[in-house]
């Protein structure tokens, strides 16, 4: 702990307290929404208007500005869900459990977006909506993992027990993450190889790269907004009998 400043430690301690989290996120929300909109508007302006058409794919490639950020988010959120799940499993921190399960729905949404935008891009470019290649199949398995987590959580009445079960399922599923990432290198796929994450020499022009990065950042902020919305709901449901929720409700209805 000696490496982390005292104020940071205090911040996380306070954030782990449900009433504090609830009040803090309420004040934080407008800022997140403003930043998200600024990033999205500039990203879409750059991607849909300023960037030139692709020399091979014409304008169809513009799906990239939602397809790739969504696919990245589907992996990123899964890792967050697994890590917060593990934290909840080990230290029994209620808020970690809530962030973990709240992430599942957002992650599933981004996986779904990655899949159908890919399909809508594949049809004009590959001539097919779907192929069972390694990238597409492993991403579909990711969707099923998310749905499995959501279903399992809903099926167990005691939510603290449910969180334990879900965390274990999420941790086992982590094995799928590197498989998705490296699928285009390990197997011969119809899906193209990496163009951006070759950091030394990305094979994408800067006028296309900047809007892509803006959209990636925008989706990160979207995730924060969406996960906070879900977490606030889940927190109230779980803490319905605690004093801070009761007194907040009397305060609001009075």
């Amino acid at each position: 702990m000696f490496l982390i400043p005292d104020s940071v430690v205090r911040f996380f301690h306070r954030m782990a307290s449900p009433p504090h989290f609830y009040a803090f996120t309420e004040r934080l929300m407008p800022w997140l929404v403003v930043i998200f909109f600024l990033l999205t508007v500039s990203g879409l302006y750059g991607g849909l208007y300023l960037a030139p058409p692709d020399y091979q794919q014409g304008d169809s490639y513009r799906i990239i500005y939602i397809h790739v950020p969504s696919a990245w988010m589907s992996l990123f959120i899964y890792v967050v869900m697994a890590i917060t799940g593990a934290i909840g499993l080990i230290w029994r921190i209620k808020l970690a459990e809530i962030i973990s399960i709240s992430s599942a729905a957002v992650g599933a949404s981004f996986t779904l977006i990655a899949l159908f935008t890919g399909s809508l891009w594949g049809k004009p470019m590959w001539g097919t909506w779907w192929v069972w290649d390694a990238r597409l199949t492993s991403e579909l398995i990711l969707l099923f993992l998310y749905l499995g987590v959501i279903g399992l959580y809903g099926a167990i009445e005691d939510k603290r027990v449910a969180s334990k079960a879900v965390a274990i399922l999420a941790l086992v599923g982590v094995v799928n993450i590197p498989i998705i990432h490296y699928s285009v290198e390990w197997w011969n796929t119809l899906h193209q190889g990496p163009t951006v994450t070759k950091l030394d020499k990305p094979s994408i022009h800067v006028s296309m790269l900047i809007p892509l990065l803006l959209m990636t950042l925008a989706f990160k902020f979207y995730y924060l907004i969406a996960v906070i919305q879900r977490a606030r709901l889940e927190l109230l449901r779980r803490e319905r009998n605690s004093q801070w929720v009761k007194s907040m409700i009397t305060g609001e209805s009075a």
């Binding site: 208007y49 169809s60 513009r62 799906i63 935008t117 919305q229």
Partner: protein, 53 residues
């Protein structure tokens, strides 16, 4: 570039705008549903408290 050319997307309008439209729908629903459910939950709990007192 004219507005018409922009929306035509070089002949790929259907694919591009469907992708963007569906994405927008999923993202909006994802924030709106928990927001509505939370308001509902707060109303229900408030009613319950009134009844019990």
């Amino acid at each position: 570039m004219t507005l018409q050319a922009f929306f035509a997307m070089g002949g790929y309008a259907f694919y591009v705008w469907t992708a963007y439209g569906l994405t927008l729908m999923v993202l909006v629903l994802n924030v709106l549903l928990p927001l509505i459910q939370r308001k509902q939950f707060l109303r229900q709990q408030a009613l319950k408290q009134k009844r019990s007192t």
